[in-house]
Symmetry: C2
Subunit: 346 residues, 2 copies
Amino acid sequence: MKRLGRNPILTPRDVKPTRDDLTVLCTLNPAAVRFAGQTLLLVRVGEAAPARAGFVGVLRHDAGAAGVQVRHIPIGDPALDRSDPRRLVYRGRTLLTSMSHLRLARSRDGVNFTFDPQPAVFPSTPYESFGCEDPRITLIDGVYYVAYTAVSEMGVAVALASTEDFRTFRGHGIIFPPYQKDVCIFPEKVGGAYICRHRPYLSEFNDACIWTAWSPDLLCWGRHEMTLAPTPGTWEAGRVGAGAPPIRTSEGWLEIYHAADEAGRYCLGAMLSDLDEPQRVLSRSSRPVLEPRADYELAGLYANCVFCNGLVVDEGGAMTVYYGAADRICAAALTSVDEMIAAAKS
Amino acid sequence: MKRLGRNPILTPRDVKPTRDDLTVLCTLNPAAVRFAGQTLLLVRVGEAAPARAGFVGVLRHDAGAAGVQVRHIPIGDPALDRSDPRRLVYRGRTLLTSMSHLRLARSRDGVNFTFDPQPAVFPSTPYESFGCEDPRITLIDGVYYVAYTAVSEMGVAVALASTEDFRTFRGHGIIFPPYQKDVCIFPEKVGGAYICRHRPYLSEFNDACIWTAWSPDLLCWGRHEMTLAPTPGTWEAGRVGAGAPPIRTSEGWLEIYHAADEAGRYCLGAMLSDLDEPQRVLSRSSRPVLEPRADYELAGLYANCVFCNGLVVDEGGAMTVYYGAADRICAAALTSVDEMIAAAKS
């Protein structure tokens, strides 16, 4: 995989906040799709509350009339824990340092992108009071489905939206209850059912693993099976999660996934699974296909992190992998279907 | 609610272990149903490994040829934490002190029960290596569906089985991925869809709340909505979870649910929800309808606990509530639909 010389391709400077008093902290983890001759990225844009000396600000969306609300917590408050840069813990509750929405960026060449002036998917339900994060887009029968993480004080769940024109989006509610993330839907039915990957959160019983689920209608999911677990002692010892929606190839379903090691360093891997039984992994890359090395991957809001949830493939098999780097910016790298198949088998 | 004088109605002494070298630690949390003129309880039976001085034993079911395996860990091992009586933590992983299966107990009078000599549902898949727990039975169109907790090193999930004769049970796989428990299915479709309650585990973001989900086929579930959250400062401040499957009444869906306070004391409550929109709670009991008071509720494997996942109602509206007490034995209490409706409104 070869990084674009143009990287980073999108940064917080490239997008206007939704209100003049807010700051864009991060533009990350884009879904990607080709549409009407353009490349579209659906980017997670994280906004932060106005700075106030001696305080930390948090944003919360109220699904009622109040809309986005700003709250400031004194930095010296003993009930405040700021040890994780992405989160606050206040009075035993987790709050996020930024509230995300999903914003489209459009490009003719796949490299130079311009953000839309308005959000595409903005928090609107009580399940999104802390934000909408990490979308994946799958085209099925002329409809683009967007699975994204919906975060609120009711937990971290997965919501579904759809669009046919990338102008208006329709919400379909929560498709996976807490604590789930990293849902990506396959582009076609297998054995008569829709398929997706998902990622139950780790617990005192289990690691963070990639699971597979089946659905008759894209809304209700069942027959959950565990598909890929972390491998102790390796670059994927800490957690694994699905990346961009899988691509049908003659060798199986090809997918780029993410994995973190014990220290929390996030890399990308390539995996092949059975075309008829996608819960069966055929092979996967013994080493990462992308690991944090560039300065924008080594430092940011969460250091040492590359995270992919979108890619596009042209007719000749050339692949552009879009990814979030260090939880702060969008970058891209070039490869091909053949190269990733070879990597998945190596 | 009036406890039976005969309580406890089932104890570990009443059931034979599945192997001569195992010990039955607990018989708890029964599902209940009327079938062919009898009352059937589907009881969680927890078995423990053979005692060995200086060691703690754990059981694990291997879905391959090995079957039930016994492992002994030295009590002095510094990697062993035994502070929770229901669990061990060993090398950072949670293991259970008992492995549960589901066993039927049958009765002509609803009071005097006899256990079947063999399990009804025994761990058989990799998702059940640590056991099958806490069943709920719902009769729909002549089929009895059993939703139960499937525990393994892949997490705490919910599996579905079905039977028409309470002799043979058919497995339907995992219907809720980790970390979920406390699934009870409504006895009829509402608005064209099957309905259930479920309980995502608490996380750093969310409390342990009762959720509602919808399904076209009982296997795939979606449109998840949060229904009932803990109430700070009360007997239900810690967590809430569904109990026995809801009963249709003229006042709404009546259900007995469980709630724990901040100290982890488990009581039962009564709740009414809208017949057409069961995600809408109409009213619920301000005080518990049953709280731990009897000696067998105050002490056991988990002290101060009553937990209901089964009840039966006769044609006149008399209700027998079966419940697990202190995570060790089965007990029962008598009440009526009218009394529980009144309690839910008080």
